[in-house]
Amino acid sequence: MAEEELIVRGLTGVDMSLRIAGPGTRSFAFLIDWQIRLLAALGLILVASLLRLLPGISRSVTQPVWIAALVLAPLIYFLYHPVLEVVMHGHTPGKRKAGARIVTVEGTIPTVGSLLIRNVFRLIDCLPGFYMVGLGCCLFSDRRVRLGDMVAGTVLVLEEPGASKALGRLGEAMQRSALPLEALRLIQDLLDRWRDLEHAQRTRLARDLLARLEPGFDLTRETLSEDALRVRLEALLGARS
């Protein structure tokens, strides 16, 4: 059974968990990265080819550019992952877009050596085509890792981009509001998802919540607009006291 979380021992002895990214997230990140490196490599060759076709430019200029493009294009394609993962500390543009990053099994950012080993094993992971070995390993390994990760001791985890925001808003709400924690969580959840919900849904949920939490709010009589409901919820959180 695949693990959902990577449990790491914190520096102070308190365990913490990082959510492990599955094959879907990996594939999504890989596809974005693949498109970027392919476009960059092909773009370089295209520019060099166009330069050769332009009239009036001597061969002594176009030939070195053409050779440079032929040498650089494969370098861009094959060194994209190792170089960017080292420079961006376990990220690539694709991984960033997918909300994932590479960490060690101890939950720290991998060293250059680990990242290189991880990338060298793409040679095996991509066999016999379409990353079949890597994908197979991902599907059946405990931590959903490919061979390269197994050897390098790395794991792809999901980032928590809202960690600081959630902590800050919670701290603020707990200071200003007298409501119990679970009530604050419900309000916070609703406000976070406000734009994603349908108008009727968010209005109904807001009215239900206000009826339970705000003394004097009469569900049958109050006919507040959507914006007014939102303001009342924010006031309960203490943000607009």
Partner: protein
């Protein structure tokens, strides 16, 4: 009577809410820093300790709650930020070349000799096979190569005229890198993949020499590989030894589990692959610019080959970059 957990939790939360709100900014900024001052680092560590303490308490007082999740996420974010390795600057580069690469090379020294012996034995076997059964050469050489040799031309003769040396070097370098990395990575099949790759390369080398010898062209092939061959073959042996070491870590794990053992060995051998890639870069340049060029004499090629090989030995032995003298006393 036991205290009401809800009320004690509420009191505890309200006492710390302000601190958490203040720490949120640190949680947001710490992972974004590419360079941290000592003050930044200390502040991040202090924030981490405070959050970890709060997390431990929250797990006791409010297990599975929204607050515990928020604290755990914040704590994990800072944990990753704190574990960021130092920048890969000059000092780290110096350590890599002066200490890490020689240490990794030394750890596989005996295995490298065994792999070199395997390569040599396979080459002899290839020579014997092709000498005894000449038709077997079609297994290791293309029809065009065979046809050319039968008409008195080595396939290396035209290399200099069909592609610019820069392009030739790049192509040769990438081919060699794939072979070398393949020899390393296939070690994960308990070392058998590496043995197969080394043996196959040895068979090819010996077989091609036997075939060219039959047509009186062996000295031409030797002349071609004299400048780049010593380092190229040594690097393949080195990568093969690293692959074998990887396989050995699976067969005879030195740590509690095979996966831990593989991980440890993989990380130790990482620097060796960097060395292999750099040595192959030099080898590719020699093979692109010097080896196919008929203007260079045999003594010059020999000097380049031996010189570069000696440089490789010094580099892998840690003799190229002097160590700082230990303080006396």
């Amino acid at each position: 009577m036991a205290p009401d957990p809800d009320s004690s939790a509420t009191v505890w939360i309200r006492a710390r809410a302000g601190a958490w709100q203040a720490l949120a900014a640190e949680v947001a900024s710490a992972p974004q820093r590419s360079r941290a001052t000592p003050e930044d680092a200390l502040r991040t560590l202090q924030s981490y300790r405070t959050l970890a303490r709060s997390l431990a308490n929250a797990r006791q007082l409010l297990p599975g709650s929204f607050l515990t999740t928020a604290l755990a996420d914040a704590c994990a974010t800072l944990h990753v930020a704190i574990g960021q390795p130092p920048r890969f600057g000059r000092a780290r580069l110096l350590t890599l070349f002066r200490d890490d690469i020689p240490a990794a090379a030394a750890s596989v020294r005996a295995t490298t000799l065994w792999i070199a012996a395997l390569l040599g034995a396979s080459a002899l076997a290839g020579w014997w096979l092709v000498s005894t059964y000449p038709a077997l050469v079609s297994l290791i050489a293309s029809d065009r190569m065979i046809d050319g040799v039968e008409h008195g031309h080595l396939w290396t003769d035209q290399l200099f005229s069909i592609a610019p040396p820069e392009l030739l070097s790049a192509r040769i370098f990438s081919n060699n890198v794939v072979v070398t990395l393949g020899a390393f990575c296939s070690g994960i099949l308990f070392g058998l993949g590496t043995f197969y790759m080394i043996s196959f390369n040895g068979l090819m080398l010996g077989g091609l020499f036997a075939f060219t010898h039959q047509h009186g062209l062996a000295h031409g092939l030797l002349r071609f590989i004299l400048a780049h061959g010593p380092v190229e073959l040594s690097v393949i042996c080195l990568a093969g030894a690293a692959g074998t070491a990887l396989g050995e870590s699976l067969m005879r794990p030195q740590l509690a589990t095979r996966s831990e053992s593989l991980r440890r060995r993989g990380t130790e051998l990482g620097p060796l692959l960097i060395a292999c890639a750099l040595l192959l870069l030099g080898s590719g340049l020699i093979e692109g610019f010097i080896s196919p060029n008929p203007r260079f004499s045999v003594p010059f090629r020999l000097a380049v080959g031996l010189g570069y090989w000696t440089l490789m030995l010094l580099f892998l032995g840690g003799k190229l970059i002097p160590r700082p003298k230990a303080a006396g006393g």
